[in-house]
């Protein structure tokens, strides 16, 4: 139901999203999921957003105070800060389809999901 609302915006940005994608990946230390998430995210971005993305990795073990700002509960979490609106994906990002939906890159499938 939610993607419906987001569709007009995403469809306009679909042909050629002009802006730089800023992604924040919250991890803790080097847990299995954290490591997997980083590599999955990297692969995904290389495949879908080549040259238009920047990933900031935040290790909450080292910077725990940053968790509050983005309301981080789950680890790993990816927060799309740009383009707006902010989108959040939790998990080790192993499912590409879910990634596309979560990042508003494929609205058509999102409806089916």
């Amino acid at each position: 139901m939610k993607p419906k609302k987001a569709r007009p915006r995403s469809s306009s940005s679909l042909p050629r999203p002009p802006k730089l994608w800023q992604l924040r990946l919250y991890v803790t230390d080097s847990t299995l999921n954290s490591v997997a998430a980083f590599s999955n995210l990297k692969t995904f971005c290389e495949g879908h957003l080549k040259g238009r993305y920047r990933i900031t990795v935040i290790d909450l073990v080292k910077q725990p105070h940053l968790a509050k700002g983005d309301q981080i509960l789950a680890i790993p979490t990816v927060v799309r800060q740009l383009p707006k609106p902010v989108r959040t994906i939790i998990g080790n990002l192993s499912n590409t389809e879910h990634m596309l939906v979560g990042l508003d890159l494929r609205p058509a499938e999102a409806r089916m999901v």
């Binding site: 968790a67 680890i75 080790n92």
Partner: protein, 586 residues
């Protein structure tokens, strides 16, 4: 590692407690929540879960020097501060002084996409960070279950919650986790499964349009605790759980006696009044003067320099003062000197528990020696029978615990003096005075008698109870062949007796007078007779004299004759004196 040993040690060693500082809760739980363990507080909406948790934290920070972390899942920091500010808690200041840390956890499910495996390490990191940043000893998670609505994968969530509680224990913090009440289980999502050390249930029930909150310690592993449902309130100073019922009958007992303010009543009670710290029930039909006796009792206490607290559920303080002024009881100066305090409230103002709490609070604040509740019956109407009896029991226990002498007036309906509620109540009371109306001869009179007075000799007689503008007086009622007479009948009877006595006196006087008269008459008679007697004696003497004269004359004549006839013979026979007397007479 701590948790591993817990089961073994609970039996031998008493669990250390973490005092909540919440009035009454520490008494029920025997000192507080289990230290270093999570406690589950569950209840329906509007039960006061958040407030209880917040108070636990604030009191910990303020009273016990234990900083705390409040992790809010429902309210934002600003909302929370505003909400507890109504209880007088300065959360903002505590946060600034690093006594309390607030973390608002909020996840919008619609903004969240799940993709692959994850855990809730972020929550742990945040909690850990908050705890370490202020050195927290206490943690509140309010309401953790909100996560179930935020996170799509329940399986992961449950696993993580289990881990969270274990982690909290390992961290050594005393945690309070609030949860919504479920239909068949304590919590909607079955959190009690993870928190097994202490479960507290809050409840909010409405009976007869009056809502009362209840608290019950459902479970407290390894500890004795009150399992009853305890009413609690949220007042201006936070939560107070009530009461604090003394679980045993081991009050300190005083043999000191205190005067009732009515000398004759003291006399009826063995001459010295009631025992200090005893409870007195004063029942009576409407208009028998219960309030007056009660006020006398309070005034007597004030005169001794003691403090008296007067709970009135029928009249306003000013009304009582005015009314009693009309019988010569001046309470105003006592109020001004703060020896006497009034507390008036309509019984229907709030529930029984709230009344009780207010009374406790007033008593604790004023620390009176004497408490009057006028009347207890109208207060009891605010609750069910069992509730009210429990309430009175607790009130009496509380008062006795503090050696406070208490007087409860009780209103009975005309006709039957002893009602069921009083029968129940009377067993709690040490002394029972009964004020009653006596009807007859077109008037209504008050009588008073002592129905029971534990531990003291007391009069079994009925006294007539008079109220005048000089106060109360007790007079002996007339007890005669026709029963007890009071009022005009008593006065009439006394008058009749007086008249009878008077008549008797008059009769005696009359008879006395008559006898006197009779005696006087007799005396008169006697004197008459005497004069008669004297008269006849005189007559007798005269006769004697006459006879003597005649005899002399005769003998003289005879001698003359003899001399004339020269009768010598008769010379010798003549008595010697005769010639002399003949000489003398001649």
């Amino acid at each position: 590692m701590k948790t591993n040993h817990n089961k073994a040690t609970t039996l031998a060693v008493r669990l250390p407690r973490c005092p909540t500082g919440i009035q009454g809760l520490d008494e029920i739980t025997g000192g507080g929540l289990p230290r270093g363990r999570p406690t589950l507080v569950c209840g329906g909406a509007g039960c006061g879960k958040t407030l209880l948790a917040a108070e636990f934290l604030v009191r910990g920070a303020v009273q016990f020097g234990e900083p705390g972390v409040f992790m809010a899942f429902e309210e934002t920091e600003a909302e929370l501060k505003a909400n507890v500010a109504s209880l007088g808690f300065d959360l903002t200041g505590l946060v600034r002084r690093k006594k309390i840390a607030i973390d608002y956890v909020h996840v919008e499910r619609s903004e969240l996409q799940e993709c692959g495996e994850y855990d809730l390490e972020g929550l742990f990191v945040r909690l850990n960070h908050a705890i370490d940043s202020i050195g927290a000893k206490r943690v509140v998670l309010d309401t953790l279950e909100a996560l179930f609505a935020s996170l799509p994968n329940e399986a992961i969530l449950r696993a993580e919650l289990r881990r969270l509680f274990r982690w909290l224990k390992d961290k050594g913090v005393t945690a309070v986790i609030t949860a919504e009440r479920g239909r068949e289980q304590f919590t909607r999502t079955g959190l009690e499964e993870y928190v097994s050390d202490c479960v507290i249930l809050l409840d909010h029930r409405v009976y007869d349009q009056i809502a009362t909150r209840h608290l019950r310690v459902v479970k407290y592993r390894g500890a004795l605790h009150g399992t009853n449902e305890f009413p609690f309130l949220i007042g201006a100073e936070g939560i107070s759980v009530l009461p604090i019922t003394s679980l045993g009958l081991n009050h300190k007992i005083s043999s000191e006696r205190i005067a009732t303010g009515i000398a004759r009543l003291d006399a009826m009670l063995g001459g010295r009044g009631f025992f200090r710290g005893s409870s007195i029930l004063l029942t009576g039909t409407p208009g028998t003067g219960k309030t007056i006796v009660a006020a006398n009792f309070a005034q007597a206490a004030c005169r001794r320099g003691e403090r008296a607290l007067f709970f009135s559920f029928e009249e306003s303080p000013n009304q009582i003062i005015r009314n009693l002024h009309s019988i010569g009881l001046r309470l105003e100066p006592l109020v001004k000197r703060d020896l006497l305090r009034f507390h008036s409230a309509r019984p229907s103002l709030y529930g029984l528990e709230m009344h009780l709490a207010t009374m406790f609070k007033e008593i604790a604040r004023f620390r009176p020696h004497v408490v009057v509740v006028d009347p207890i019956t109208s207060l009891m109407d605010a609750g069910t029978d069992s509730e009210s009896k429990a309430m009175v029991t607790r009130l009496i226990d509380y008062l006795k615990g503090g050696q406070v002498t208490s007087l409860f007036t009780s209103l009975t309906q005309g006709g039957h003096a002893l009602q069921q509620s009083e029968m129940a109540m009377s067993s709690l009371m040490d002394s029972w005075l009964l004020l009653q109306d006596f009807e007859g001869n077109g008037e209504r009179n008050r009588v008073l008698y002592v129905l029971k007075a534990r531990g003291m000799a007391h009069s079994n007689q009925i006294r007539e109870f008079l109220i005048s503008d000089r106060g109360i007086d007790l007079v002996d009622a007339y007890i005669g062949p026709s029963g007890v007479l009071t009022g005009a009948a008593r006065v009439a009877q006394t008058a009749r007796e007086k008249a009878e006595a008077l008549a008797g006196q008059q009769e005696a006087a009359r008879r006395q007078r008559e006898l006197k008269r009779k005696r006087a008459a007799l005396e008169q008679q006697i004197s008459g007779l005497r004069s008669e007697h004297e008269a006849s004696a005189e007559e007798l003497r005269q006769i004697d004299e006459q006879v003597g004269t005649q005899t002399r004359l005769l003998s003289t004549e005879r001698t003359e004759l003899g001399r004339l006839r020269q009768a010598d013979v008769l010379e010798a026979a003549r008595p010697p004196g005769t010639s002399k007397s003949k000489n003398g007479n001649s």
